[in-house]
């Protein structure tokens, strides 16, 4: 069992809602990332989704697209991201880290080399946005051999049949993309999310984290009531954009936001 499954199960057992935080590695500068990861953990984050930048992040809204661009402005490569995880692990042996991004940089590095390096660095899982389980055959089994868990996505448009297939392939948890749109969209309908989730719960007992559209403590609390946890991405990343010249301020604002969300989750 990896750190990821252990953490998710422990949270479930303790009745604690999981707080998952997403940032893009290297945004706005490479030096900030590890420091920010530790600060987010201190603010109550349970799982870190570390985005590895790609030139063409097809499923992202404008906020996260720009984060990828900022990270690539100083050439943050997949290898850089892996060494950030390695550095983070020196000070934190417990918090699960999931690499999230698009397949091409991994494809170019080679699946086997990626698996060896990622597992050596202390990566616990992957979310490859543009790789549905149908296309992940060889890669998924290599990841499994290296104890890296593949997390897959469910969407509002996912049929029951596909949901059964996806949840059977997904490890650790399944990520429910709460709305039809790109990251950072604003039209979250909590009742609709609730209906979909209860359908998925009949199909699988895998824990469900909900992302897309979680902006603040209030939406986080609403969504966490019907799920095992929430993923906060664009709300954090927009703070990075706002103060990209003042890194101390970035850390203060991000931890402020996350502390507020943590508090609201713990009050459920």
């Amino acid at each position: 069992m990896s750190r990821l499954t252990i953490k998710v199960k422990a949270n479930q057992a303790a009745g604690r809602k999981s707080l998952v935080a997403y940032i893009v590695a290297g945004d706005p500068v490479k030096d900030l990332t590890v420091k920010l990861m530790h600060a987010m953990v201190d603010a109550g984050v349970d799982i870190i989704e570390l985005g590895f930048p790609f030139s063409d992040p097809e499923a992202e809204g404008p906020v996260i697209q720009l984060a990828h661009e900022r990270a690539l402005r100083h050439d943050t490569s997949l290898r850089d991201v892996l060494s950030m995880v390695e550095q983070f692990r020196q000070g934190d042996a417990d918090t699960p880290v999931i690499l999230m991004g698009y397949l091409n940089p991994i494809e170019l590095m080679g699946y086997e080399e990626f698996c060896v390096s990622a597992s050596g660095a202390g990566v616990d899982g992957t979310i490859i946005v543009n790789m549905p389980p149908e296309e992940s055959g060889v890669f998924a089994s290599q990841l499994e051999n290296h104890d890296i868990e593949s997390v897959y996505l469910l969407a509002p448009t996912t049929t029951d049949k596909r949901a059964a297939y996806i949840t059977a392939q997904s490890r650790g948890f399944v990520y429910y993309v709460s709305l039809k749109g790109t990251t950072g969209a604003s039209n979250l309908d909590v009742r609709d999310v609730g209906e979909k989730l209860s359908r998925f719960r009949e199909i699988s007992s895998l824990p469900v984290m909900v992302g897309f559209g979680i902006k603040d403590a209030a939406t986080a609390a609403e969504v966490a009531q019907i799920s095992d946890g929430v993923v906060v991405g664009s709300a954090i990343v927009s703070l990075m954009a706002k103060h990209d010249q003042d890194l101390e301020r970035v850390i203060t604002d991000v931890t402020g936001l996350l502390c507020g969300i943590r508090k609201s989750l713990d009050e459920i």
Partner: protein
């Protein structure tokens, strides 16, 4: 000869034309590398397309529009003076430039707009680089009464103001894309984002044989009318089969369109011509098959222009329609199984061919098509006089007059 087969995934030999497999794979290429949000829409599109490709009413309507609206069949033309200049094999031109809107793009747009209509989707979206596919999409949207939004890189909007205005005249909403390199690849990403958010009422008309399954197959099928006509026209005019087909390849839809009906005719050489831009050794080109490597972008696995870390890099070609860092997955596969050859032609060579075709045949080719003409002349020259080739003249060059004038230092007001 009709015996070209290749080993399929079930371990038996399958005809080349039977690909992709049911999951959209051409060997290791193609597939469906998209976010989960789009999977249902792609499944729906695939099953609707399979159903309609056997539906008599749909096919009749498509055929009627191709004849009466697009103006098909497009002529096959024996280019006598060009042949004399080259001094080798006979050169025939498949005149896709004579279609309504001036290029092969409309073949696919008519087909997909009809799909949208039959699927009950009142809105279409499209991406465009030079604006040709955008114009064709806006045209069919007007024809079928569909709302139309065209995504176009803000760099391209600056460079192609004529086509932007034309799309507006056709009632389309042209949306500037300011992310990434602000060109075709970013417009494609942005159109995918729109589709993700609006799948219920929107059909996305991809303009080339790329993207997630079923697009490479579907666009190829709609474009293969080019090859079917060529086969019949060539048999009538010349007899037998041509010895080679030559077509330019950006995403590769005009090339797949003319190649596909000939895939199993082993005697017919298939040659795709990419844009070598300033030269392959300069890095300033758009030739992923000739000088790129394999990766995943825009929903499929194929050859790409990318850096050592897997980031997609900027491309260059004098012809905006070839300026794309990827290529259709079927071309990637045809290259690997050696059924087609891919070469690259520089800006300079394409411009020379552009001038030759004007002077010798009175035909103004698109700069994209001029790449095929440039290689076609060289290929014909290397062949005996009793041989014959067909060059797919995929579009006309009116849109390129400002570019040419600028190169010649002439100001047009």
């Amino acid at each position: 000869m009709s015996n070209e087969t290749v080993l399929g995934k079930n371990g038996v030999n399958e005809p080349i034309s039977s690909f992709p497999d049911e999951d959209g794979h051409f060997g290791v290429y193609g597939g469906r590398f998209v976010s989960e949000i789009l999977m249902q829409a792609l499944d729906e599109l695939n099953s609707e397309y399979e159903r309609l490709s056997r539906d008599d009413a749909f096919q009749a309507e498509l055929k009627s529009d191709l004849s009466h609206y697009v103006g098909r069949a497009s002529p096959l033309y024996f280019a006598e003076r060009l042949t004399d200049m080259a001094g080798g094999a006979k050169i025939y031109l498949k005149r896709e430039d004579l279609n309504h809107t001036g290029a092969h793009k409309i073949n696919n747009c008519i087909g997909q707009a009809l799909l949208a209509k039959y699927m009950g989707k009142p809105r279409i979206i499209a991406e465009t680089g030079a604006g040709q596919h955008g114009v064709a999409s806006a045209t069919v949207a007007a024809r079928f009464g569909l709302a139309c939004k065209v995504y176009m890189g803000s760099e391209d909007i600056e460079r192609q103001s004529l086509n932007v205005y034309r799309m507006k005249l056709l009632g389309a909403d042209v949306v500037p894309v300011t992310s990434g390199s602000r060109t075709l690849k970013d417009a494609l990403s942005e159109a995918m984002r729109d589709w993700v958010a609006n799948v219920d009422d929107t059909h996305y008309i991809i303009g080339t044989v790329a993207g997630p399954h079923p697009y490479p197959k579907l666009v190829r099928d709609f474009q293969s009318v080019i090859g079917r006509e060529t086969k019949m026209q060539f048999a009538d005019m010349h007899g037998g089969l041509p010895d080679a087909l030559v077509a330019c390849v950006g995403g590769g839809s005009n090339a797949m369109g003319i190649f596909y009906p000939f895939l199993e005719d082993a005697s017919v050489r298939l040659v795709g011509v990419e844009a070598a831009g300033m030269g392959l050794d300069t890095g300033q080109h758009a030739a992923p098959l000739t000088a790129g490597n394999v990766g995943v972008l825009h929903g499929n696995r194929t050859y790409l222009m990318q850096d050592a870390h897997g980031q997609i890099i900027d491309t260059h070609s004098v012809s905006a329609g070839l300026d794309y860092p990827g290529v259709g997955p079927e071309h990637a596969w045809l290259k690997d199984i050696k059924r087609a050859d891919y070469v690259a032609v520089t800006d300079e060579q394409a411009l020379a061919a552009f001038r030759s075709l004007n002077l010798l045949e009175g035909i103004l080719p698109a700069l994209e098509s001029a790449h095929a003409v440039a290689h076609g002349i060289d290929l014909a020259r290397s062949m005996d006089r009793d041989k014959a080739i067909v060059i797919n003249l995929s579009g006309r060059g009116d849109k390129d007059i400002p570019t040419m004038a600028k190169i010649d230092g002439i100001t047009i007001t």
